[in-house]
Symmetry: C3
Subunit: 297 residues, 3 copies
């Protein structure tokens, strides 16, 4: 009896090859009732950190079912392949155990039962060991949807022993906070590992310093509130602050990339003294929800 | 009772991030019976004109159901979010009201009932205002599919008051016609805002002039009819003329881009005099259908 | 009565335009019960060889149903549009007859009944002849899924007369074998037209020579077995050998591309003498399965 009917699928397979397509073909073949939702396949090659952050951003929105996540530079080696129940069994995450999934699983309430995918009876025979997405993860995801019990797929492991993800936390330095760019999106917004509560009491203005650059930014709620020529700290859709420009790419124009360290200082006083770079400041009452707060953990 | 079972989805979200994937996850969660057709997510960032043209090219082919279109530089501001019935209720377009959808709706016979999406009961709660695709448009699209009446989603508006699209029309200048490149496709074909009727009586040959360039092109029906080294004006799949090369990119080799202005002059006389650039001319009887004619409006 | 419920779809349409989306919209409109699996749409423009290789890699994994393949530089010309049964009617390949599909069909056991798609009653009327994917192949694929008999779609042809694909075979030159790069994947692995049996008895080490470069490579089963700074000949997921680096792009760093000719020589003796470039050699028992062996035909 089918147990799940959705597989949400994230990988670093890219679009140029048929990798993601073949995984979906295998799932279709084994579990024809399943719909696959492509979250993204453009995680940078082998970038476990970027994949783990994307999965953490997605996890609260994926439907009940299987989450298939493959960023797997150690494919074929001793790194473990896992299936981990989440949300009381409403979902199962199928993925390599390399830090990719721990942050998303933590956000989903922590791991339930977990197994290592050692039962080759549920894998595809293959001439080489380099495409576990097709040969291990896809058939396991399909069979979970078909109702095969987790315990059939391999040996139970301690779910607390997953390889942890690495998510940078900001650090305080006097009145300053030293943050890091987590993610640059398609529009050039540079998401920081900060929420609005981290700049509370700063009067909605911060001085940003990275490399040789020093700029002033205002906290706003929409990109068009930033104003032309100014820099915004936009409360983004995950409850974090993103360095943004109005209708242009902040990452391109300011030279920001994932991992860029940015020091933020309160600039309210300077602003009164006229040193702000300009820009239309829209003071807003910021409140970070509990749900959103989890997204930086 | 479900009303629609297909959502056709176009955006400028790109593929690098999980934006389009999360929108589909939300729809799947709220309306599991729905299939989403990805029209494209590679509309250039914030390019409302390009998005409106792509949607106009698609509209006659999309199945009954919801059309979800998101190119939304003003997200979170006062720009209206809409749901607009088309084709007597066979479809509903869900999108921002910024010119993106007006041309497609005109091609589909004009707008029916329309509402502004002000009823937040049908939106997702979110910590920030920057991802209306996920928080407003996706849940509304799903609930329309589930049978929620349009009138539940917000206040009715005058459907005639949609923000109009901007589609350039060619202009006549003596015997010449001054056209514009609407679209450069993946193969490098440069679609003009001209149909074959605009060069009727020209004997199948036109002189093209743009920037410092002057070239001669012949009107043909297939790319391979152009011939090597020659330029074609190909009757494309939307009934418009495209500047093309045989199995090479006209846009790359001739320096054409959306918005490039091209002056076309009758070159039949010159051709008799031998000034044609060469190329194999295949004279054809061109007829533009009524359906196709609408695609330039 | 529906006959198939899956269409597996490969093309060179790219993602920038709505081409693939419109094809799927047409299929959805005509055969709403069908699920489309996108294999890939990023076959390089007009590259029939690349498309035929990708399709051959996919074919053993696609579910029963229709395989829709469109790489069609000669669209609109006299090149034939075909539907070809495979696997005793478990599948039908719908595609142009230009070499794109012959290798995959051979791998699937050879062609069954075949027709030329001459019955325009099953096509969409269109103002131009340049988008056969939308106007010919998509509606035919949909109608095959709906149960329309193959014979209705056009005139039967001799299935043995398909335009053959061009797949390079390696050649022996004394003790050497001269191979060719078939495919460079998203991760930069350069797949050769060689299986491990072609280097059997070489003691797991080969000298590679291309252009001015001479390097030594070791045969391994995982990328991480290659070791940092060394070159691997990895037994890939199709049973062929790929030139790879550990967690870096071999194609980028070594200057390899599809079509690059590489001469391989046994290097076991030299290795004993210490001329190997370094790298951790993991001797493995390689066995090429019958299934995998077919993938180079």
């Amino acid at each position: 009896m089918p147990r799940y009917d959705t597989v949400s699928f994230l990988s670093d397979y890219g679009q140029a090859d048929e990798f993601a397509g073949v995984v979906k073909a295998v799932i279709r073949d084994l579990a024809p009732h399943v719909t696959v939702i492509d979250l993204t396949h453009e995680i940078p090659v082998h970038d476990i950190r970027a994949g783990s952050l994307a999965l953490a951003r997605c996890i609260q929105y994926v439907p009940a079912g299987v989450v298939l996540a493959v960023v797997d530079p150690g494919v074929g080696t001793a790194r473990r392949a896992l299936a981990v129940e989440i949300a009381g069994g409403a979902g199962v995450v199928v993925a390599p155990d390399n830090g990719l999934i721990a942050p998303a699983i933590a956000m989903a309430g922590g791991p339930g039962a977990a197994v290592v995918l050692t039962n080759a009876e549920y894998h595809l025979a293959a001439p080489g060991a380099t495409f576990a997405g097709r040969d291990v993860f896809a058939p396991v995801a399909a069979q979970l949807c078909n109702g095969v019990p987790l315990a059939e797929l391999g040996e139970a492991i301690d779910p607390a022993a997953l390889v942890p993800g690495v998510i940078p936390v900001p650090r305080l330095d006097g009145a300053d906070v030293v943050a890091e760019v987590l993610w640059v999106d398609h529009f050039g917004n540079a998401q920081l590992n900060l929420g609005p509560e981290d700049v509370a009491g700063w009067d909605g203005v911060a001085r940003l310093q990275w490399g040789e650059e020093v700029r002033t930014a205002t906290v706003v709620t929409t990109y068009d509130d930033i104003g032309s020529g100014a820099i915004g700290l936009v409360l983004d859709s995950y409850g974090l602050l993103a360095v943004s420009l109005m209708r242009r790419s902040a990452a391109d124009e300011l030279g920001l990339a994932p991992g860029t360290e940015i020091r933020l200082s309160p600039a309210g006083a300077e602003r009164a003294g006229g040193r702000v770079d300009g820009g239309l400041t829209i003071p807003v009452a910021l409140r970070r929800t509990d749900d959103a707060g989890e997204s930086s953990r």
